[in-house]
Symmetry: C2
Subunit: 446 residues, 2 copies
């Protein structure tokens, strides 16, 4: 790439102005605020770079699909233009919708998640075009939704329906992060997720607890059902649950072995007193092991002191974090069978929202290897390549319908306060992100 | 007894006037209202019948000890002059502190619990005295506290300290009830109780649930600990828990076998869908089996939908209902050992309030048999004799320190709304209660 440092710096500054403009639009999807307006602003930015942009109706906000460039490689980029609500507003040190630079950081709602990611990539693309006489050496498709912060309710069906239009050789995911030392963190997969509620009722209304000798207790029943879901080590005990778990590949295991740390940061930040498993297994567990979480357990008396009540009702909230090739619907079936077999047919299972399948790309795929190599060059530090995040997201539809590997790399940071007051990015990470985008697109273009 | 029907009716009417006067005093111990004033009113009523009354300071309200009469038998009567709060006041059909007769029922706070009990006994005593030329043929001691509705915080120590002063041959407990068909219900014992909170913390603050693969879950830990406390049938599984359970006597088993019903009323009233055990064992379980209840289970997210949180903390409220000769302090020790042995040494046990020992009188004791015989005569129906209630109360100190059997018989009814708006007694039950009191004292006097 023949782009000079002054030219690149100009693109970075222009990108920061664009980012400030986007941050100024409070596109809060949970509250339906400024979504078409922000979709239009993003459309204008893309059309200015020669993208043909198509807007489709989503459930909450338009879904944008853009396309530009020509070449042997087709890259699909996925981002979103909606943001989390800004409250509690009083905890922001500067106005949430005014991008503000302070001590090397840029603060604002969406500065990181996901407007900063979107604009850093756009600025890199501009830089590459500038160095290439206005031409892109690859086809870039860009899917930008406005419903990510409310769970991407339209996305899976949209990707399935528009599979041909979105066809690509590789997918660049919407997030990623950089360590304080400047090492880029890449993810090649996400866990799947199933969110459920268990409910148990034994009577129409609460009883005096002296009746506990003759009336069953819904909280004991739920406790007993929950206790049987995993062992003390955190391993899920539901028969059949592990049948579909894909064995970690050689490349996955090698990548896991290279991951730094063994949970010290988590332990120290949250003062965790009960880490599960051996320190040496930390990353294997976090990235490759399916788990069940109890998110909430509620029933009966909660106040000070005692109340001798036998509650009529109780409920438990659970999430299962799945790994390839577990299937969310199958997990619900297995749980139902497990509860029935354990004598808990009376416990109702309520599915709380759309499930997400797990996804994991092949780490030896050339697209993944290119991302790692370019990251190594641009960041000047060894990339941290995770086969999967411990978190979840709608990555699976891309792999299933677009038929391409997915890699996540971006400009987030561990102190970035995503979803919280004072969301921020490091200016350093934005700049390197622009450089990475330009170099990555160039490398993929060949 | 030579008391004529017109004389008895006059005593009943006088008793109802006294009851109206006492109900008019809102002696709510939980709010410290009108307690010395009510103690003084009760003292005046007793002194008018020749009682020597001593008032001792309690933690919340004075404890009254009164004594009158002379004879070979000493009866200790236990009552209380405090009441539950009246709110929600708007749910009362008539003012809570105005005794109001309607359709054969007398409504008012304390009409049943416990001012109605107290006055019905006093009116019976007056009737007996009137028939005996002003003499009582036995020694009557009367312990009347003003803290029962806040858990009798002074009572156990008081009874122990004043054991000699309270020495008696039999104790008449403060409550009892009559079935709709007019059968008197007697209790010869109460279960003991231990109220505890279990607490589990794994971190200083909540984490994202993706960390559930590497950080233990406090709600699973509590669920697992709670699950191991009992089996599906409700039998407590803590090693050693049953060691001190006294075998039911021949008389206990015979009494249990004669108890009417098998839980139909409970099932129908509360629409209970999960009764424990066999119908034939209903009364054995309710009256003679120790149990553990989960009164509350709380931690993590409780709102609509899902929140993928790994909670830092959770807590469970428990009560154990004990039978003779289980010891509350020993139960806490056994629970601690059980949790430790199960890998739950990190779960904290918090004792919520003073424990109560279980108590059960010998059903073949002459005092108990006299109560049953007199009840049979006065009520003209077969008494229902329970070896123990499923509920708990401070009966044990009386048996331990006064050294006498205890029997509960009184004027409550199943629709009496004790502790709730529209508390009431049946006029029929008050009248029969007065007649029972007179006949019982006479029979004990020999």
């Amino acid at each position: 790439m023949t782009l000079t440092t002054p030219d690149l710096q100009a693109q970075i500054e222009r990108g920061l102005r664009d980012l400030a403009d986007l941050v100024a639009l409070p596109s809060v999807s949970a509250q339906g605020r400024h979504l078409p307006e922000t979709a239009a602003a993003v459309t204008a930015l893309l059309e200015a770079e020669g993208f043909r942009v198509q807007a489709y109706p989503g459930q909450v906000a338009p879904v944008l699909v853009a396309e530009a460039g020509e070449g042997p490689f087709t890259l699909l980029i996925y981002n979103h233009y909606d943001v989390q609500p800004e409250d509690p507003t009083e905890l922001w040190d500067t106005p949430p919708f005014t991008l503000t630079e302070r001590d090397g950081r840029l603060y604002g709602r969406g500065a990181s998640d996901d407007k900063g990611e979107l604009i850093s990539r756009l600025a890199g693309l501009r830089a590459l075009k500038a160095a290439r006489g206005g031409q892109l050496p690859l086809k870039v498709k860009w899917l930008i939704e406005g419903e990510e912060e409310v769970g991407s309710p339209s996305l899976e069906a949209f990707v399935a329906e528009h599979a041909a239009e979105l066809k690509a050789d590789g997918v660049w995911w919407e997030f990623g992060s950089v360590t304080p030392e400047g090492r880029p963190v890449l993810y090649a997969g996400l866990k799947g997720i199933v969110c459920l509620e268990l409910r148990c009722r034994v009577a129409a209304s609460d009883l005096h607890s002296s009746n506990g000798a003759v009336v069953d207790n819904p909280l004991w029943r739920l406790a007993s059902a929950v206790a049987g879901l995993r062992d003390a080590d955190g391993t899920v005990l539901i028969p059949g649950f592990h049948d579909d778990v894909r064995l970690a590949s050689e490349a996955d295991r090698a990548a896991i072995a290279r991951l730094p740390g063994q949970g010290e940061a988590l332990r120290d930040t949250y003062e965790v007193t009960r880490l599960l498993g051996e320190a040496a297994d930390y990353h294997t567990r976090l990235n490759l092991k399916p788990v069940v979480n109890v998110n909430g357990f509620h029933g009966g008396y909660e106040g000070e002191g005692s109340k001798t009540v036998l509650p009529a009702f109780g409920m438990v909230k659970l999430d299962f974090r799945l790994v390839p090739d577990q299937d969310p619907a199958r997990v619900v079936q297995l749980l139902r069978a497990h509860l029935d077999a354990g004598g808990f047919a009376d416990i109702e299972i309520v599915e709380l929202e759309s499930h997400q399948h797990p996804s994991r790309s092949d780490l030896s795929h050339p697209f993944v290897r290119t991302a790692v190599q370019v990251a190594q060059q641009v960041y000047g530090a060894e990339p941290i390549l995770n086969p999967s995040s411990g978190g979840s997201g709608p990555m699976h539809p891309f792999m299933a319908h677009v038929g391409a590997p997915v890699i996540a790399l971006g400009i987030g940071n561990i102190g970035g306060r995503v979803h919280a007051p004072n969301e921020n990015i490091l200016r350093r990470d934005f700049e390197t992100g622009v450089r990475f985008a330009a170099a990555f697109l160039e490398a993929l273009g060949g």
